[in-house]
């Protein structure tokens, strides 16, 4: 007959309780839902940017423009994964976390830079029109805080 020490028994119970809690919480499905929601939000923001008269893409540098284009292409063919696979989710996480700051910046720029209607812009009987004030982009440029490298590990 095996004798269990009290500490070992407590540890075993904690480990069992922890794994049961993980099984009940089902974090995989939650992660799937969370990334889907964030991708939908990205889609909506990109739609706003596309439909706007302001060419906000010009505010971005070449690499950020490429990022946004690749996300647009990805979103056109994207199908919600049914199960949580580490590699798929990792790719999805990298895509979402690296794109969100750029798209949010674009969306904010579009919202703050919308030109007023023409009637309001034209001052009455002015001989020389002063140039319209330049539209200032949002103060902070997108700086993705997310960093990930492929050369890590032990």
């Amino acid at each position: 007959m095996f004798r269990l020490r009290k500490t070992i028994l407590v540890g075993l119970i904690l480990l069992l309780a922890g794994s049961v809690a993980v099984a009940l919480a089902n974090p995989e499905q939650r992660a799937l839902r969370s990334y889907n929601a964030r991708l939908e939000a990205l889609k909506a923001e990109l739609k706003v940017v596309k439909n706007s008269k302001v060419d906000a893409m010009q505010m971005l540098d070449e690499s950020d423009r490429e990022t946004v284009k690749s996300v647009e292409e990805f979103l056109q063919t994207y199908e919600t994964p049914q199960t949580y696979r580490y590699e798929t989710m990792r790719d999805l996480a990298i895509l979402v976390l690296s794109t969100e700051p750029v798209v949010n910046y674009l969306s904010m720029a579009v919202r703050t830079a919308l030109p007023a209607p023409k009637e309001e812009l034209a001052p009455p009987k002015a001989a020389v029109q002063p140039p319209p004030p330049p539209v200032a982009p949002p103060a902070s440029a997108p700086i993705p805080s997310f960093k990930i490298g492929e050369d890590e590990g032990c």
Binding site: L15, L16, S19, V22, E28, E87, K147, E152
Partner: protein, 201 residues
């Protein structure tokens, strides 16, 4: 929300500092558990003392369940941690070689560092041998680079079994508990036989 350094919540170099601190305490725990003594370490190969198995497996299970709980609580993102890609052939051959090195030299790489810090000369020799082994592996790498072709990506137990992560964790905890019971039974049996052999010898 973690991993903290991946999400930019702490600087990347700070993660390295935490790793150094964690490494220090890991080494201290190994030394306190008696793992700087090669006799205790190799006893697992003679089925006399399964302390290595118990300590290492407990650490693995605790870490796995801990990460799972943090993930379930929304404090951690499992997909952002780095998992080594599976290279089955290379890992099987490497595992065999490290096992032979362990039983012959009396240490694994980590415990050899711990033992060297306590001043054991044999551990220092083992460490030097390990460094030579690294060079001996690296310099003619082209000879066995074929083993690393066709990397199979990250093959994970829940994905292979088609189970959820929680159920997999539960199975691993139950498996660990069963292994510990079997190890305790084997230890008792072998050590009893040793006592009889010594008494009759």
């Amino acid at each position: 929300m973690g991993p903290l350094d991946k999400l930019g919540l702490i600087p990347e170099w700070y993660g390295m500092e935490i790793a150094v601190l964690a490494g220090f305490f890991f080494g201290l725990a190994l030394e306190r558990a008696g793992f700087a003594d090669p006799r205790k370490l190799v006893n697992i190969f003679y089925l006399r003392d399964f302390a290595v198995l118990r300590v290492m497996f407990t650490a693995i299970v605790t870490c796995a369940v801990g990460l799972g709980v943090l993930w379930a609580a929304g404090l951690y993102r499992m997909e952002l941690i780095y998992i080594l890609p599976t290279k089955l052939t290379a890992q099987i051959i490497g595992g065999f070689i490290i096992g032979v090195g362990f039983v012959v030299g009396g240490y694994c790489p980590t415990t050899s560092v711990v033992a060297a810090v306590t001043g054991r000369l044999d551990a220092v020799v083992f460490l030097l041998g390990m460094c030579l082994g690294v060079v001996g592996f690296f310099v003619p790498f082209r000879l066995w680079s074929g083993l690393y072709e066709g990397v199979q990506g990250q093959i994970l137990v829940p994905e292979v079994l088609g189970l959820s992560w929680g159920v997999t964790l539960l199975l691993i905890v139950v498996m660990a508990a069963c292994m510990f019971m079997v190890a305790a039974w084997v230890e008792k049996k072998i050590n009893k036989e040793d006592v009889f052999a010594q008494a009759s010898g």
